[in-house]
């Protein structure tokens, strides 16, 4: 058990190290000379050379990486030259709205996804099942930007039930969270359905049914806990999809989170900010998966034994 945990943590650290290296390469090596970008077009070669040595860009690659890592470990994600501000403080100031949106959306998608998945499994092969599975396919085939605009059009423009965009009241939270939640729920309902069907095939379920227990009680007492196990790992994986989704959803609904920050940075080709958001998202993904793996043994005793 301890071995499993420490192995997983070490693995996550290694992945984070690799992530930081790739981010470093993308940020410092690939784009056009950052020194030229900072100096502006009218700068003399001398100024550019000065900036280059100030930034340490004339140093060997591994020394640059060392500096980058030292800064990173102190929470320094670099500087946005266009916004003239620290990337870490920009991201930090927008973390709150994003976390609010994410947690609400995850709650919505679990509620919808698990309910529909169980409903489909209970009605396997019937019309309900088929309709639900087609709906889940539509939800995984709909890109976030179209779903956002559609939901915005119906509930804010046509019906006028919710504000068109912005931030502040709970009413502002409903539409963006609903968009992310609905889109994510399709995936959960599919996994929940197949996991539930797996469990319902087990002998102990047949025993419970033979005893005359009603279906709902069997699901609630006997099947649910076992069927939920794959879902936990999925929430960890899902964070990656969420981090991508918030870029689109936040920019359509004007939600001031890190997704919108990234979108604004895309428009200005402000690479340090885009990379900062990517790095933070990658850390969130690795942490999400790690936490899911650390919780798994407590939910599923079989993992504890192996």
């Amino acid at each position: 058990m301890i071995g499993y945990l420490s192995r997983r943590i070490a693995q996550s650290l290694l992945i984070l190290l690799g992530v930081s290296f790739i981010t470093f390469l993308l940020l410092y090596i690939l784009p056009a000379d950052p020194a030229v970008q900072i100096a502006g077009r009218s700068a003399t070669p001398e100024t550019v050379a000065n900036i280059r040595s100030q930034l340490g860009l004339d140093q060997p690659l591994f020394i640059q990486y060392f500096h980058y890592m030292t800064n990173l470990l102190q929470g320094d994600l670099g500087r946005s030259y266009l916004q003239k501000s620290e990337v870490s403080s920009l991201i930090l100031s927008r973390l709150g709205p994003t976390l609010t949106l994410m947690l609400t959306a995850i709650a919505i998608e679990l509620l919808i996804g698990l309910t529909l998945g169980i409903l489909a499994a209970m009605n396997r092969g019937k019309v309900v099942d088929k309709v639900l599975m087609v709906l889940s396919f539509i939800s995984v085939s709909a890109p976030q930007f179209i779903a956002s605009i559609l939901i915005l059009y119906i509930f804010a423009v046509k019906l006028g039930w919710f504000p068109i965009g912005g931030y502040g009241t709970p009413a502002h939270l409903v539409l963006p969270a609903l968009t992310l939640g609905l889109l994510g729920s399709g995936w959960y309902s599919r996994v929940m359905r197949s996991s539930m069907l797996d469990v319902l095939r087990q002998d102990y379920i047949r025993t419970a049914r033979a005893k005359g227990a009603p279906m709902l009680r069997i699901i609630r007492v006997h099947a649910f806990k076992n069927a939920i196990i794959p879902i936990i790992a999925m929430i960890g994986l899902d964070i990656g999809i969420f981090m991508s989704g918030i870029v689109v959803v936040e920019s359509v609904f004007g939600w001031p989170g890190i997704g919108q920050l990234a979108w604004q940075a895309i428009q200005r080709v402000d690479i340090p900010i885009i990379m900062g958001v990517t790095l933070v998202s990658a850390i969130a993904i690795v942490l999400g998966n790690l936490i899911a793996d650390l919780i798994a043994p407590f939910v599923d005793p079989r993992i504890r034994v192996n």
Binding site: I22, L26, S141, L150, A262, I266, I274, A282, I285
Partner: protein, 282 residues
Amino acid sequence: MTTFRRILRRKSALLSLIFITIITTAAIIAPLISPFSPNEQFKDGLSLQGAPIAPGGNYLFGTDLLGRDLLSRLIYGARTSLTVGIIANGVAVIVGTTVGIIAGYSKGRVGALMMRFTDLMMAFPALLLAITLAAIFSPSLLIVALVIAMVNWVQIARVVYSQAVSISEREFVTATRGLGATNSRVLTRHILPHLLPTVLVYATLGIATTVLLEATLSFLGIGVRPPTPSWGNIIFENQTYFITAPWLVFIPGTLIILLALSFNLLGDALRDELDPTQRGLS
């Protein structure tokens, strides 16, 4: 052939295939069927107030913000979207299969190293990585496709890897190696054929993902650049009009969803037929 027939007996798969065929044909013969030139701005293409014209009449699907015929732009847009989707997915499938099969067969250090690298790529959110890459390289059609491929090969690599590992353990592989077959022969002649059904399923499902990613990148303004129409950038260009002229967003939007849905349904049907153990489960 029988597999193919069984798939066609499913209504959803048949409808999907028909829709994919229609869109693909339209994309190929675009100049023949498109009523107008996609980039021509018509004098009567905007109302007197300068607003886009609603569907019906001379312009079947209406006109866009610049007075261009939406239907023609959609037909030519299908070309762009499908081209990017197919190139991106083709590259992703080839890279993913190669990495997965080599890592799965060779095991040892090389295999472990390759799979750790795919784990690493899994840690990046696909859209954000694509955005970064698209922002760094100023995108052309090909670059957009390659960027999408770079974030999409990982999934296939992992699936192929896990299958390649189990197939490499089988006796016929040991027997072939015992007969003196070289590694590359074992890989291409004996292991690859077993993986083809899986690869085919993921190649089909993958087109849905790549079409969606292209549309999203174009919608964010960093995919295919206007005036070249793609389904994503048609929405990007016209989104400011979506309250007064919603068809400019919802017609291309519906097409994107239907195309992605068709590839997903077809891929799902293929998986059910080629891997009977999965039938009705997922």
